[in-house]
Symmetry: C2
Subunit: 214 residues, 2 copies
Amino acid sequence: MDGVLELILCDIGNTTFHLLINENEKRYLLNEKLPAFNEKVYYISVNDKGQDSLKSTHNDIVNLENYIDFETSYKGMGIDRKVACYGIIDAIVVDAGSAITVDIMSNSEHKGGFILPGFKKIENLYTQISSKLDFDFNTKVNLDKIPLCTQDAISYAILQSIIEPIKNIREKQQIIFTGGDGEFLSKYFENSIYKKDLIFENMKRIINANNCIA
Amino acid sequence: MDGVLELILCDIGNTTFHLLINENEKRYLLNEKLPAFNEKVYYISVNDKGQDSLKSTHNDIVNLENYIDFETSYKGMGIDRKVACYGIIDAIVVDAGSAITVDIMSNSEHKGGFILPGFKKIENLYTQISSKLDFDFNTKVNLDKIPLCTQDAISYAILQSIIEPIKNIREKQQIIFTGGDGEFLSKYFENSIYKKDLIFENMKRIINANNCIA
């Protein structure tokens, strides 16, 4: 590699292209046209349409899925989850985006995981069920008290439906959060950290581990 | 009252009219036309359109919301939840329909509760997030093992997002399940029972407690 400054990384999710352009983050919707880049674009993708769009506008691209060294007995694990867990020794890895993926790494081995719907997806679901359940999420709801109004009854349930399944599988390991709702969720767990750029950091590690590909 | 045999009960929910006609259960979608009845119809409703529809086709109707004796400091509790909890002394009451309401009764007092999205609503949400998450629910997923494939990762998460928040508030009391998914969910809890007709049974109790209204 010629140096970190010229790196362009692209994480294609279910709703956006998430780019790191010379250390600057930028998001584009999947139906938006990406700017032209002179540099090579290293990418991962869980969305075929997004990948096709990148391919149609850029020639010099490298799919890091072909280079990641990540073994697991889990069948069908998305590349975003593999990258999030890459190089982690002992931790629960939670990527809280449009879905919330929860994975267990133990002694550098992937032990499995589960997939919850994303925070905002659950929030919007209540309105679909009944207009009487159309409330803004109360970020200050007290989880130590049984709710006594509908706004809290919904806010409490959304949070607990995410928090309790994670607590249930936790032994004493650290929890690493990433993704749009990761910082907010991390506040509900002791011994947890929020790594905003976990995916990009690990994409760089994969590039460095395969320096032949630069 | 002239006798139980002539009772017509109607529980208007968010998707159906649920009727008990002379002890026979029957469901109609909210946009379907109800048959004509000669008898008085005792009803509860959480859906204004459904209630309007009933009113437009039947004259001899009694809204049991006006007769239920149920005190709580919870603000905005739906009549269906009040009826489900009516007369319960010590239990957690779970009505698992298009929403899953969870309420705590302790010493005949309502202590509060919370509202999860319904089972099938959550299931359908995954497909909305990504076509790669479009799997049938695995009813036999093992909750004691961390999932190792996407179908199990989703099935496990759906179940745990419902089960764990309920376990978290449970002390040692019984759990009473009702609603379409109540029987299935009850199997995951010790000291629980499924009362298919909890709402109708309690509607009858309210009628009996107010025998002047017959």
